[in-house]
Amino acid sequence: MESKMINTETTHKGYFKKKNRNQMGLIILSLFMLIYGILNLFPFLFMLSSSFKALGKVFEYPIRIIPETIVFNHYVELFSPKYSFMRWYANTLVMEFSTIVLRIFIVGITAYAFARLRFRGRDIIFLIVLAALMIPGDMTLVPRYIIYKFLHITDTMWSMVLPYTFEVFLIFLVRQFFMTIPFELSEAAIIDGCNHLQVFYKIILPLARPVMSTMILFTFVWAWNDYITPYIFITNVDKQMLSVGLQYFQALYIDNYPLQMAASTLILVPVILIFLIAQKSFIEGIATSGLKG
């Protein structure tokens, strides 16, 4: 302790200088990163500003981020019944809602059983289930197509909802959280005569709000952005989802860049808003799953 004190005393001046230099370095680094961050967002800025530009004004040089004349027309047009755009929006929302409801229930009780109930073979079953995380989804497109045909769920939103519901990663995430809830709580409830279903929704579910909201967030974002599943399994234009719908749209209005940009913006807005509001729980979810995995 003594020697340390003396040490800081003697090098105090040098330390101060070094600190000042560090401070300067940090400011420069911050500015550099800020510029990088804004450049990183440039595609979004370009999209937003182009969506308000008149036809033929998208490729101006030098680029104007704020359009000369602001045109709202494209957005108004997108909502007109001439396009299926609103239909795809509705389809996607219904699909999202069904997935989320099913997931809360199925993932919830499965994770509850794996985390908090003792039964023979539990750990080995869990390991087998976890092994499925190694199978890349794109690899099984062909057999999934065959199975969905037999179940008659191609061309319906169930070809998305059902596979989503039984995804392994979320079981893992939720189970990890359930294991941290004190076991005394559920034991006391069982002695009071509750059954496990009651314990699950009266005790565990309210306490697990953070992990459940992370799960809902992940679900919303992934399902909203999924492209390959609707592209392969849904061919009916009226039943299509936004991702693929946007692509149809682009092909149909190939030269109308502002309209394409307005449609793209409308797809991004809900997800980006939700992300900005709930980013803490989203980012923590990724960080914890990454560190534990």
Binding site: L26, S30, M33, L34, N40, L41, P43, F44, F46, S50, F59, Y61, I63, I106, I109, T110, Y112, A113, L117, R118, F119, I125, A132, M134, I135, P136, D138, M139, T140, L141, V142, P143, Y145, I146, I147, T165, F166, V168, H196, L197, W224, Y227, L242, S243, L246, Q247, Q250, M261, S264, L268, V271, I272, F275, L276, Q279, I283, A287, G290, L291, G293
Partner: protein, 304 residues
């Protein structure tokens, strides 16, 4: 209340039965949507299955699909393009996300805002992203090339409409831009988990910043590096969506990567068996790559 059959059982026994009841719905779905597809893909890889309706009359043809694959130039070339994609993507995203995480781990201003800016593409819809990048990188009218031109560049890059050696790196660049957020956030969490005492101890030993990075930071975050390498590797083989929305495999076949080839064989040419066999090829390569990583991890991954 009168004890019914179930509640007469002991609590322990009730728990056991409830456990099975709770996992059964999941296990059925899991089998139907994950296990069964995996098993079927193995089986039909060795058959001549073409249309789903023919499934009753399929014939086992042994390794014929795999032999056909070896002589199928389009398929082998597309596997080569996928390899190029992976070789570019994995190191690029690993290094850039580590560098960004190291910077963001310092006490810089507005770090949360900057993190959000880098993360935003990760939650964005890939089709929307593709449309805007197609416009930005338009070789004639796109803002990027107009900027390069005004800076005096004469041979402007063709980006998404160039040959294989231009279009694949361009897609990789966009994929890195989009996927960066995940790696960055995971790395940041790992960096924040490195105990401060270790840095202090090495400072007392007189280590400079570079030595601290090599002796303390890198070994301490090596489990995360290992995890991210594997997930990035898997992500790089799952590039159907991004390539399809950006170029549809074009121009010509310049960016026709392996997953695009498989989907076309399966759903355009209705060769389900052959397409499945190709999936099995990429799966085998992926498993081998993961196993090699796993074996090598002892040498560089530090788990204390």
């Amino acid at each position: 209340m009168k004890p019914t059959g179930f509640s007469r059982l002991s609590i322990r026994r009730q728990e056991e039965i409830t456990g099975y009841l709770f996992i059964i719905p999941f296990l059925i779905g899991f089998f139907l949507f994950q296990g069964l597809p995996f098993i079927i893909s193995f089986i039909i890889s060795f058959t001549d299955l073409q249309f789903v309706t023919n499934i009753g009359s399929l014939k086992f043809i042994g390794f014929k699909n795999f032999i056909t694959f070896l002589h199928d130039n389009t398929a082998v070339e597309s596997l080569g393009r996928s390899l190029l994609y992976t070789v570019l993507f994995v190191p690029a995203i690993m290094m850039s996300s580590l560098i960004l995480a190291l910077i963001l781990n310092k006490r810089i201003m507005a770090r949360n805002a900057i993190r959000t800016m880098i993360f935003l593409p990760y939650v964005s819809n890939i089709v929307a992203i593709a449309i805007v990048w197609q416009l930005l990188l338009d070789p004639r009218d796109g803002p990027v090339n107009l900027l390069l031109q005004s800076m005096g560049m004469i041979h402007l890059p063709m980006w998404l409409v160039g040959g294989t050696h231009i279009v694949i790196p361009t897609i990789v660049l966009i994929a890195c831009w989009q996927g960066m957020g995940f790696n960055l956030v995971t790395y940041l969490a790992a960096l924040q988990g490195v105990p401060k005492e270790l840095y202090e101890a090495s400072e007392i030993d007189g280590a400079n910043s570079l030595q601290k990075f090599i002796r303390v930071t890198l070994p301490m975050i090596s489990p995360t590096t290992f995890f991210l390498t594997i997930t990035s590797l898997i992500a790089s083989t799952q590039n159907y969506s991004i390539v399809q929305v950006l170029t549809k495999g074009g121009p010509g076949e310049a960016s026709r990567v392996f997953p695009l080839n498989i989907v076309e064989e399966a759903f355009t040419h209705s060769r389900l068996g052959y397409a499945s066999a190709q999936s099995l090829v990429i799966f085998t390569i992926l498993i081998l790559a993961t196993l090699i990583q796993w074996k090598m991890q002892k040498r560089w991954v530090n788990y204390d």
